[in-house]
Amino acid sequence: MSDTHRFSKMQEQTPVFSANKQVTAQDFETQLRISVRTILIHAHTLLELLSPPQQGADATRTAMIADVGKIQSAIEQMRLLLDELFSPPAEGQTIDFSYFSATVRHDLRTPINAVVGYSEMLLEDCEDLVANQTIKGNIENILNAGHHLLGLVDALLQFTQVDKPVPKLEELEQPSLLDSNILSLHHPKLEKYKARVAQDETGHILIVDDKSSNRDLLSRQLGRYGYQVSQADSGKQALKLLAELDDIELVLLDLIMPDMNGYDVLERLKADEKLARLPVLIISALDEIDSVVRCIEMGAQDYLQKPFNPVILRAKINAYLEQKHLRDREQAFIEQLKQEQEKSEQLLLNILPQAIAERLKQGENTIADSFNEATVLFADIVGFTSLSSQISPVDLVKQLNEIFHAFDILAELYGLEKIKTIGDAYMLVGGVPTELPNHALVVAEMSIDMLDAISRLNSQNHTDYQIRVGIHTGPVVAGIIGKYKFNYDLWGDTVNIASRMESQGRADMIQVSQSTYQAIEKRFQCESRGLIDIKGKGKMHTYWLKHAKLFA
């Protein structure tokens, strides 16, 4: 059988390129890498298929596993050679065709021969093996890919031996023979991009690829562009690094990795609130277009096709980093806005009951709600006016603040609504705006605690404050009226009567009206004061609230 015949047979079997297409080095690389990948995938599958010891030790299987391992190391060798062959030329350098040709001639065939030979042996072994069509199919696929590789290498040899002067980079008018690899930054059409990349975005990039050669190549290249680069050799390591390093701004992700593949990594990233926004570029080969589409659907930004065209690599990385930086700034702005909003909301809540604040936010201007029954309390500091002439106003306000602060805490604890302070008076309500079924009892409880609070503050500060407290239960209207300086307030006779209960009471005493008394008398010990003349109201029966009944 003549050599020429063998060649033509090979090329008939595996049509390498369509006749009318201009062939480029990149076409070769793509095709070579596809075959390499195919072999790796099938070898991996084969190992899995062969590994589980089915019925005890099986000498054939063990031998086959060893041979698959040899295919793997051969193809790994092949991959390293391809990386070396097709590494993009450094700036100002051309591809050395004589070296290229020699390498192809001497080195590339050896691993392919091993692949072909071992897979043929494996096929023979299969005859001894309890029929397993899947195993056989995988081996046949490897064998076919091996033959395809041989065809490619033959074609590549002829391609590189085309007797044609190798154009110098500077003379290259437009990409022709070896477009992509020679299309470096010197191309005139790219001058305007040069201006752009001169102001590269900076950033920390994580490369995730199980192949160290790929990682090294990329990181060297990116390092030259001034990016900070970290590497992960597996999905797990990538996630670990991302958890540890918080300044990574872009991830270059390979899809096919052992253990945790690129999809898994992508899925985890997108499920992680903190990492979901991190731009991810998929590193892909031409035959992975479907996978790339899937990744982009899963949230990856874009893909970089192997072999990396340096210009596209740089442009894409720059673009996505720029986008990320813009988004970060936007995010920071939104965060700031949110904080400001929260601040003002908190302020609003300090002034208004939450339910009322919500209604105002929803656009209500005037709120005036009627309540059939609420309990209103007034407390006033006795002799405050005369006190104020004895100590400095600053100290006075400080002490007043301390007292009202204690009352505020109590009101919050009891779920009562502080309405306002008027000078030295403190006003609160129970049952408004949120309904409270036993508002009178709760307000009574609170009033006793207010007296306790005063005596505690007095002994603590060596002061001698006394308060008068008045309570009345009845219908009120509550709400907000007016245009500005909003204040949630109460209106109605009930408010006036409660105020009178306080103003016409005594120091250190709690005076309650008839209606309040009726609501609390089962639980609180009260003492009748009898009928007193309430200004503007006439005679009213009032009570002194003493203390809670112990066994009520």
């Binding site: 050599d3 040899k70 021969n113 091993a114 030979g117 071992y118 042996m121 023979e124």
Partner: protein, 119 residues
Amino acid sequence: MAKILLVEDNEMNRDMLSRRLKRKGYDIIMAVDGGQGVEMAHSEQPDLILMDMSLPVKDGWTATKELKADDATRSIPVIALTAHAMAGDREQALEAGCDDYDTKPIELPRLLGKIETLL
């Protein structure tokens, strides 16, 4: 049983080819370079030699020339194996005195045919 000397520097190729030939019932002995190949051809007197062409120390062409120049080994048929499917390789191999020539990757049935013809 025919004894074949396989002269091949690449471990994988050696392992692969020797095992496949053993399976077919041949007795296989191996050398890793041209020098060792010549020595073993003398000491072992194989029935046939499979000679890789690109070998370290002493390449396949030189080794074959030496074997064919020596009365003690001249009659041993040599099949040249080469990874180079380049025009000219075949002529070079035949000129060195090889009895036949085959290219890698080995197509076993084809190689077996050539071996049987020469034995």
